[in-house]
Amino acid sequence: MKVEADATKCCGSGMCVLTDPDVFDQSEDDGTVVVLDAEPAASHHAAAREAAALCPAGAITVHE
């Protein structure tokens, strides 16, 4: 799996970090998304998919 995030679309809701803090973080300046682990282990796949689905701004894409 490959996780991509577009910080220009991000609205800083924090839903991704809430869903999987090992894969996602928020920048200190403006709270936008930072991908910590772009190729997460299988145990994080379900959470990464959920984060992509929950993202209010559609900023996260997961390539299976």
């Binding site: 800083g12 809701s13 924090g14 839903m15 809430l18 973080d25 709270g31 929950l54 209010p56 701004a57």
Partner: protein, 400 residues
């Protein structure tokens, strides 16, 4: 095809826990109905989860307040159109204005920042609980706990002296009470604004370690009106909402003893319980609104430019296509994907703070008062069916 046109938003509740039953009937028929607004406008009422999500996630549907027709009445008269959002009130703006203001704040409301506040929130919560104990073995939970906790937190964050809260709490309530006339609501709102504007001027000359001072320092181009607007928005959005979730959430848990027992048996269920409370008790009962900027086809319907959509978050959160057994309150289910904080780029900025306040607040309340109970029958609890934000006006409770 003939269409049913509803006149006015369904507002009658059969009990404190469920949204108006008519919303469910409408959603069953079709997740998007025509709605005749009080001013005569023919718009839409969206009740299905998937469609509410789509509309909120689509920028062709605008948040600009001057474009909306208003689905609720005030003081029993229709509200005409509203003026454009004043500077800093970004909840009623679209990109790029919305983005400019929101971006200045998102760094302050991250999950990490909010987690760092946990210890201070816990202190505030325990302080209120200690005061409740000192006063005896009964209290109105709203005035003793549910309202002061989020008020203290947001005042501290913004740098509003808490002793001065009386000047805005009553005015905020008046502004959000649907029985208030448009004039009364506007006047109350202006008084809150005057109070914050005065504070912003004080912060400019004597900055502190707070968010208003931070905003002033962060962008030298922001003028006093803009900082004031942002401050008012945070103050109003930041205390009434969480306060009502704390009050109504307590009523819900006390009325579902099996669910409360499950939470007590396994305190790690608190995060999940908070999400389920948010889903089950959707306090933003009428307000979510969008207006089409262009013709859009959605849900098999043709929405015309200029038509207003009233989005029912309570109905979306009880949609059986999204949640199994939607009308059951179940602290162990996954409530993920609920619409209580909205969706799209306007999704609640303060949601991570609200979560911290609710997790710490409920956990401490039920831990410190192991036999907390209602002091009146459930049907005597005064409900905020008359307010833009649903909840309880008062919640008499006792303990030993």
């Amino acid at each position: 095809m003939t269409e049913t046109i509803s006149t006015g938003l369904p507002m009658t509740r059969d009990n404190p826990f469920d949204p108006p039953a008519e919303l469910g009937v409408l959603r069953e028929e079709t997740p998007m109905n025509r709605l005749r607004f009080p001013d005569g406008h023919l718009g839409w009422l969206v009740t299905g989860h998937e469609l509410v999500r789509q509309v909120m996630g689509d920028r062709r549907f605008s948040s600009r307040s001057e474009l909306h027709h208003i689905a609720i009445r005030r003081g029993n008269t229709p509200i005409g159109r509203r003026p454009p959002a004043t500077p800093g009130m970004f909840i009623g703006m679209d990109a790029p204005d919305h983005t400019k203001y929101r971006k200045l704040l998102t760094g302050q409301f991250t999950v990490r920042r909010m987690n760092l506040l946990s210890a201070r929130v816990e202190e505030i919560v325990l302080g209120q609980i200690a005061e409740m104990r000192e006063r005896g073995t009964s209290a109105d939970l709203v005035t003793a706990f549910a309202l002061p906790v989020p008020s203290l937190v947001i005042c501290e964050l913004l740098g509003v002296p808490y002793e001065e809260r009386h000047s805005f709490q009553e005015d905020t309530a008046t502004a959000l009470r649907l029985e208030s006339s448009v004039d009364e609501a506007m006047a109350a709102f202006e008084r809150v604004k005057d109070f914050i504007r005065d504070l912003v001027r004080r912060k400019r000359s004597e900055p502190g370690d707070d968010m208003l001072s931070g905003l002033i320092a962060a962008d030298e181009h922001l003028d006093d009106e803009e900082v004031t607007g942002m401050g008012v928005l945070l103050l109003i959005a930041g205390h009434e909402t969480t306060a009502n979730m704390l009050g109504l959430g307590t009523l819900t848990l006390l009325s579902n003893p099996d669910q409360l027992a499950a939470l007590r048996a396994d305190p790690s269920l608190i995060d999940n319980t908070v999400e389920e409370l948010l889903r089950y008790q959707t306090i933003v009962q009428f307000g979510a609104t969008r207006t089409a900027l262009e013709d859009v086809e959605i849900g098999g319907h043709q929405v015309k430019a200029g038509e207003t959509l009233s989005l029912s978050l309570p109905a979306a959160n009880r949609d059986p296509h999204k949640f199994d057994r939607p009308d059951e309150f179940d602290v162990e289910r996954s409530a993920s994907g609920h619409m209580s904080f909205g969706h799209g780029v306007h999704q609640c900025l303060g949601q991570q703070l609200a979560r911290i306040e609710m997790r710490i607040g409920f956990a401490a309340l039920f831990r410190e008062f192991p036999d907390l109970r209602l002091s009146v029958p459930v049907d005597e609890v005064p409900l905020r069916t008359d307010m833009a934000i649903y909840g309880v006006h008062a919640l008499p409770v006792g303990w030993s």
